[in-house]
Symmetry: C2
Subunit: 367 residues, 2 copies
């Protein structure tokens, strides 16, 4: 019956996805508001979750993480699962997103990477040459065991609430490897892209391989959808994105794609790349706070479900200001076949969690 | 005679600027390649200069600055002038840009701001409330004396090479005041914009006043053109830019506008805002490396001279890679009435200065 419902609404979406060849995975939580919206079906209210909802904005997260290194927390199945569940319990959001870090597959492949608090992922030995790329170790599928275990624990606890798998896109992942840490404009990364196209292709292939395996493992273990984050793609021209990045993002989602669940793609400041990013073969596009959803939908032929795009800066504004903004986002989101409300970027660590809870209630009761 | 030339080519530009009511300032270096291009006239070769050409990429700069605080260097007329001249001597660029910092007018108004090396402008007491804004002191025009003196020394030494005046736009300036330092996405600034529109308007009016006086002082003292940097405007939606920022940028350029020299406006990641930014009333638009110049020109009705947009990341690439990229930029720049070659962002401090010199030679000999 649920399967029948899923097929019925999938047929309403103009070629965004087809369900005929899908393995059983397609029906995982198919009747949930989130998965239905991701499939292009508009329900009574708009589903809502928040990027980085699991994390520093929650006191229960800060307490649990105390004394545990970030990557160690991600690789501790019980802890990663509990952190993933916290915002679902507290806010009543329509989805959990798997708590992890985009460099986890890099670490699991055996590369020396750590998270420096307040800074981000840092590599002892940045990857700058063809030889550096050639020396990158393969990812043993067995190394993903703690990820599968954490996802298994999480979906058992979530029941009818879907879990979204999480992974970084090859370009964003590569930028950490090349720069050796976070960077404002990925200058060394873009230099390598043009200076040594062969090393670049080899590096992005490696990133696509490991991040693709990481995402697929989450879906195999029970996630109902997946989101690929190309956070820094906004530093690229459309030409560079299309020629040097998109083919590898496409490769990264291939294993998840084969499992049939809906996939979301998101980047920051990527309004100019929206159609190209959708073109890698995803079902849903995330939109940051810069581009109104009606304009984003127009750029995608009004045929693609959208996710976003509340300005996270307004979480710190008085409620009436935030509410007016959210009403505007919901109204513009009606231009798309379906809309999942989210922020246009991650929850700022300083956010009052009660504001997020109130926001979820508002969205759920807003027609 | 020079005046006649200027009027002749100005009449060729479709309403981009009119010269009839201009005071004598308009003819300053009017026959230079730079000013002619800014007026929309295409010469035999493309003029070229580099944002942040005066600065850390030059050993003579690092030597001169040693032991001197950044803002002290900006306020020492002999030193600021010498730093401004260094890249003109070394590279043979077609313009000098006045060496300064966008917070100089803030400092000259008496606000406690300093530049922390490797970080940027930092305020002891950020401006977060209406009371904070009301307490901002006015800028005494006499305080700009060291700026006038530095510009006077510089234009005397430059002779036929034009000097471009430099100032930050109100939004970018305000973001430093509100955040208390550099920030990735100006979250507190955008929160204030929506939470307290009156305080916001008062803050941006103050910024427009002081930065406008700073720019006009440079032009009165001898600069042949001016560039307004709204570096962080790319964090804004078009709606927010238009409603809450553009009117104040327009006010900021009014005093310079009245002096008749050509004005350039530039921001990073502002492809979506290009027409709105031009709409404040400037003659030339700077374009970062993300948007190809032919597309940028199309968005401006092929009626506006452009400046840019070499990817600074490629300064670190082998010469043939950089040359191919520059050829492409020059070819696409032909879509605009005129083009001044520049980078799409400031010179990275790690740049080999010989690459910049070679680039200037290449552009000057390229048809």
């Amino acid at each position: 019956m649920i399967r029948g419902e899923a097929q019925e609404h999938v047929s309403n979406v103009n070629g965004v996805s087809t369900s005929s060849a899908h393995p059983p995975f397609i029906d995982r939580n198919a009747s949930s508001a989130l998965v239905r919206a991701y499939r292009g079906e508009r329900g009574e209210s708009t589903p809502v979750w928040f990027m980085r909802q699991a994390g520093r904005s929650l006191p229960e997260y800060r307490e649990l993480r105390m004394g545990t290194d970030m990557l160690d927390a991600c690789l501790n199945p019980a802890m990663a699962s509990e952190i993933t569940l916290q915002p679902v319990r507290r806010h009543g959001v329509d989805a959990a997103i798997f708590f992890s870090d985009i460099v986890i597959p890099v670490r699991l492949a055996g590369v020396d990477v750590r998270i420096v608090p307040g800074r981000g992922p840092v590599l002892e030995n940045p990857v700058r040459s063809a030889a550096d790329v050639a020396a990158l170790p393969p990812l043993d599928p067995d190394a993903l065991a703690p990820i599968r275990e954490a996802v298994g624990l999480t979906v058992d606890a979530l029941g009818a609430t879907p879990l979204i798998g999480f992974a970084g896109a090859p370009y964003t992942l590569a930028s950490y490897l090349v720069e050796g840490g976070p960077s404002k404009e990925q200058m060394l990364t873009r230099a390598m892209m043009h200076s040594d196209p062969d090393a670049w292709a080899a590096l992005l292939s490696w990133c696509a391989e490991i991040t693709g395996a990481f995402l697929a493992a989450q879906i195999e273990a029970g996630a109902s959808a997946g989101q690929l984050f190309d956070s820094w793609a906004g530093s690229l021209s459309l030409a560079d994105y299309t020629a040097h990045v998109a083919p590898f993002s496409q490769r990264a989602i291939a294993p998840a794609r084969a499992l049939g669940v809906p996939l979301v793609h998101f980047g920051i400041g990527t309004g100019e790349l929206l159609a190209a990013m959708h073109g890698i073969g995803v079902d849903v596009m995330g939109v940051d706070w810069r581009l109104p959803l009606d304009e984003a939908s127009r750029r995608l032929g009004d045929a693609v479900p959208l996710q976003g795009n509340v300005d996270p800066a307004l979480l710190a504004a008085p409620w009436p200001v935030l509410e007016a903004h959210v009403r505007d986002v919901l109204a513009r989101g009606k231009a798309a076949p379906a809309h999942v409300l989210n922020l246009g970027h991650g929850v700022p660590p300083t956010t009052d969690p009660d504001v997020l809870t109130r926001l979820v209630e508002f969205v759920h009761t807003h027609a």
